[in-house]
Amino acid sequence: MIKLENLVKIYEGNSNPAVDNLSVEIPNGKICILIGPSGCGKTTLLRMINGLISPTGGKIFINDNDITEVDQVELRRNMGYVIQGTGLFPHWTIAENISVVPKLLKWPKDKIENVVNNMLILIGLDPDEYKNRYPKALSGGQVQRVGVARALAADPPIMLMDEPFGAADPITRSKLQNEFLYIQEKIRKTIVFVTHDIDEAIKMGDLIAILKDGKLIQYGTPDDILSHPENEFVSEFVGSDRTLKRLGLIKVRDVMTRGVEIVKSSDPIDKVKEMIKRVNNNFLYVINEKMEPRGYVLEEDLEKGKNLKEIIRTMASPVNPEDTLKTALSNMMALGVGTICVVNNKNEFIGEVTLNVLTRLISNTDRE
């Protein structure tokens, strides 16, 4: 656990504190996002945690140890550090870059070699192909991944990340974020993550600390912050589309309807007619022999054809239970339909999400 207690930082020749009496507790294994407009003190705060900047007042505890009482160099070697543009050493190969901290910690050679290989595999780069390349010979996204791998190499319990994906283009950034979340699932580090991008904060954070002029304005889960913004500043900062953003936090599996009646594409029309009356709905999903959804039939179309294949309509592309409601909504909108089916990873039909459910959810946010 990282505990910041009444932290103050006043830079020399500056009357306004960069960090102003700030207290935060970051539980182990969570990603805590520090976010705010530029000059809010988020980077200063991060750099105080690994002792690159010393606080003017207040204390920082890591697992109940005051960081000023431990050796600063030791302290930093126990924290991964990733910054924007990664700061990879251009005169060293990828392998040499990744092994910086293990070498500083004087690990044996074969252990270091192992770590380098494992790290490259973890970030999805082929060790044999990339080990001996120089950073220059890598793409922007690859360089960012190596930056993360380097910070993780000595397996530090804590990671400090200062806009680690800030330099990447939007598509690469989103990919890097997903990969990193996937890695974090496995490694469960305590991560302090600085960003100025609220969407990134909502996506990546278990906890979000919103800062302004060095003060902590609100600290809570992304859902907390989106549904209950503390004040005008926070609601403005998270944006007027905060209700829509909440859809990006909720997984399909949490709201999907299971046990929906379906018909097989080989079923005779009469059976479908009967079923559609029974479920009191004006449409039914159609699946094939392998349980894969193929589309839907409307009640009004039933008279128009002799078998289902002639009257089946195109449905919105299905979502997975792990997708967010944002994806579900956008898939529905793409086709102008009010429902979407959910499939498992074998592409088998397992349920549906309807627009009604989404609308109810969104209106709840505002009424609370």
């Binding site: 910054i83 700061g87 050493f89 251009p90 901290v101 120089y134 400090l160």
Partner: protein, 243 residues
């Protein structure tokens, strides 16, 4: 990243230096065989050419070596936090040394230290300090601050950062300064003859005073070839430094 690999590339790199040496030998043989008179023949001999060439090289290498040994540590020192404020003063002082005409520096040093090899070395040393000092200073200052920041953030110590990060990354620029200093010294060393320190300048000055073109050209061509030769060799080394 211009790593020299394979025989072919090595040949390519060595071609020009070998060519220059060849031209130097041909020119020497030509003037020894055709000195243009008995008086000139006494001066243009193989042994004399060899002696002056070695003197010249001695002047250049000793002075450049001393300049490297002083300017690089000094350059590193003034990039350190504690000395940041005095950096511009030191650069200005050393800069002043180089704005003086080379002949004036040599003359001045003679006034202070008398004639001879040591005086010439001293003058050349002063003259070559600046390129190395300035390049060491800017080379280190130009290292991406983000890289230094991560180095600290990962728990590297100050000295580790200097040796493993700052110097290797500045090496390319520092070496360019050494190259400039060396080449400039080849030219300036030709003036060392005025204070009795020998070198290829001897041929030039004697050639002028005796109005013998052969003697003059022997000195002038060999000096020029030496400068081009060293520049080419050092240039190749510079290009092989990975940045």
């Amino acid at each position: 990243m211009n790593k020299i690999t394979g025989k072919k590339q090595l040949m390519k790199v060595l071609l020009i230096p070998i060519l220059i040496i060849g031209i130097g030998i041909v020119v020497s043989i030509y003037y020894v065989k055709n000195p243009g008179g008995q008086m000139a023949a006494n001066i243009i001999s193989y042994s004399n050419i060899k002696r002056r060439l070695i003197e010249h090289l001695e002047l250049v290498f000793v002075a450049t070596f001393l300049a490297i040994a002083t300017a690089i540590p000094l350059g590193i020192l003034i990039t350190r936090k504690r000395f940041k404020k005095i950096a511009p003063i030191i650069i200005t002082v050393v800069n002043f040394g180089q704005t003086l005409p080379s002949l004036a520096v040599i003359g001045l040093m003679m006034g202070l230290l008398g004639l001879g090899f040591k005086t010439a070395i001293f003058a050349l040393w002063i003259y070559s300090l600046l390129p190395i000092l300035r390049n060491t200073y800017t080379g280190i200052r130009k290292v991406d601050p983000n890289i230094i920041d991560t180095a600290y953030g990962m728990g590297m110590k100050k000295m580790q950062i200097l040796w493993k990060v700052e110097l290797p990354l500045a090496l390319y620029i520092i070496f360019a300064g050494i190259r400039t200093a060396t080449v400039v010294n080849v030219g300036t060393a030709a003036l060392a003859t005025f204070i009795g320190a020998g070198g290829l300048g001897d041929f030039i000055v004697i050639g002028i005073s005796l109005m013998r073109n052969t003697i003059l050209l022997t000195g002038a061509i060999l000096t020029a070839l030496l400068a081009v030769f060293l520049d080419n060799i050092l240039g190749n080394i510079e290009n092989s430094i990975i940045v």
